[in-house]
Symmetry: C2
Subunit: 326 residues, 2 copies
């Protein structure tokens, strides 16, 4: 039996940390997870992660050779290798590369989850033949990873690609970043919930959503209501898609991307969000770009995208610098 080269992809989220072994072609051999326990210090997390991974990889040692480790984590910086005060983890600043290399002495690269997803789409998903596209995560917030000339845009400091924080409404909704009117306050799971509440306040239309308090409402409930014909829920999707599409039009003038590729909780609503987004994009886009930019759903499985993305990041580094472990 021949030994297969794999990379380990790790996605550190606020609630769970997911990891899996992925070969050069994006085949995921095994996937596991553990609780992140955001309130515990980073030291304890890495100790637990090491134990998990060693247990996990013990079984695989006979079949696999580890070429590298890629990590997706909130606020993780590709250049420094650190997470810098992640909003949902009590870690402060931690050098992920160093911590992971204590467990596995192989090349390690880190970036944020949205960037990792874009690389996963480029290497293993529907963007394999694209050189310019923008991957959009519609989760609690709106994350983006931007590919230009076949490479991720990191910018001067590793923090580029914050499309969730372009201002789309002057003096609009309060954003967690301290400013107002950011795209993610409208186009995200939280954004559509805010839109529902705004519509419930403005209109008299009956809606099943009138019985649900703000803190219990999820984008899944809004989706289910829309599918059942609820007028408020449908209007909320249209409004969300429209804001998103106008932002797509604006940003297209800068990047001329081949596609916007959506994934994440809210993106599961499919045409409920994609159709109004496309329509608003075409209505608002500069004439050069009309009918040129696609709006697509990710080609990766929702549950695997984060791990595949993290693995793609390190496979990409290995290809780029021709680091060979054969």
């Amino acid at each position: 039996m021949s030994i297969i080269q794999v990379c380990l992809g790790i996605d550190i989220g606020g609630t769970n940390t997911v990891y899996g072994f992925v070969d050069k072609d994006g085949k995921l051999y095994d996937i596991g997870s553990m609780e992140t326990r955001a309130q515990e210090p980073a030291g304890i997390f890495f100790k637990r992660l090491g134990e998990e991974l060693n247990k996990f990889s013990e079984e695989l040692k006979t079949r696999f050779e580890l070429a590298g480790v890629g990590v997706g984590a909130p606020n993780a910086n590709y250049y420094s290798g650190s997470v810098e005060n992640p909003p949902n983890l009590k870690w402060g600043t931690v050098n992920l590369v160093k911590e992971i290399q204590k467990i596995f002495n192989v090349p390690v690269a880190v970036t944020n989850d949205a960037n990792a997803a874009a690389l996963g789409e480029l290497k293993f998903g529907i963007a394999k033949k694209m050189r310019n596209f923008i991957e959009i995560t519609l989760g609690t917030g709106l994350g983006s990873g931007i590919i230009v000339n076949g490479d991720l845009v990191y910018g001067q400091d590793g923090f580029a690609g914050e499309m969730g924080h372009i201002i789309v409404v002057e003096n609009g909704r309060e954003c967690g970043c301290g400013r107002r009117g950011c795209l993610e306050t409208y186009a995200s799971a939280t954004g559509i919930k805010r839109t529902v509440f705004q519509l419930l306040a403005e209109k008299n239309t009956p809606s099943s959503l009138r019985d649900i308090p703000f803190n219990q409402l999820t984008s899944k409930m809004i989706y289910d209501a829309a599918i059942s014909g609820d007028a408020i829920a449908k209007a909320a999707f249209r409004f969300t898609g429209k804001i998103l599409g106008k932002a797509f039009a604006d940003v297209a003038a800068l990047f001329s991307p081949e596609a916007y590729i959506l994934y994440g909780g809210l993106a599961k609503a499919g045409e409920l969000i994609i159709d109004p987004a496309k329509e608003a994009m075409e209505e608002n886009i500069l004439c050069f770009f009309k009918d040129k930019v696609k709006v697509l759903h990710s080609g990766l499985n929702e549950g695997e995208v984060a791990v595949l993305g993290a693995a793609a990041l390190i496979w990409n580094e290995i290809d780029k610098y021709k680091i060979s472990y054969e």
Copy 2:
């Protein structure tokens, strides 16, 4: 006497076409120009250009060897090598690469003037050590050339980098592109003129600009008035800089550029435009990027930037593909 390798840079403008020979280090050996005569067909233009360039280069043949030709022209497309219906030339679509290669049988590359300027800044100007920056031309309109990871952003179709056409005011001023509220309707020589007229309409403040009709007013006159203390002219610069700075803040979230670098007629106003732009950028930028993004004046001579940029474009291609003519 040793033979020096040079590239020919050609900038085709609506009024004049400027050309010059530039070596690898950005030394400009000679510069010449001819009228473009925008109303004449492209065939006549290239015949005249051939005669001019042959005359021009005859004198230089003993000292120089031509390695390539770079062309900056309105709506010129890097991928296709063509200008496609340039707004200020009656040419339709013309393949510039083929036309120039009838004159000189060397590698030829084309792009629009704003992209060429960005490459000039990268190769010969103040951005030599930068890998991520945005070059802004404040002329009649607002052009931009975006450098990411040390390379120009062309996008899927060669038309990326249209920062002048991001929407900054919802239902704002009419733009030549057929839409409303584009950045260039505010931040450009034409934009500041429109702002002056808006301020003259709104305010009772006395101003020397009240004696000048719209069609005669230039950004130079507004600059001179501002320097003499004219309150309307000063307010127009502040407003223009503020709109520009807010756009800088938004676009920084996508690219995390090291700098915005300004050149062109309106940029000559220096701190009158740069100071309010910086201030508005810092006020509006996402916290990660505060105090990180510079706003600078171009390091190239105003009269030479177009030719140096066009030459940089082809030097860049020669470097990239290691085309050797030695």
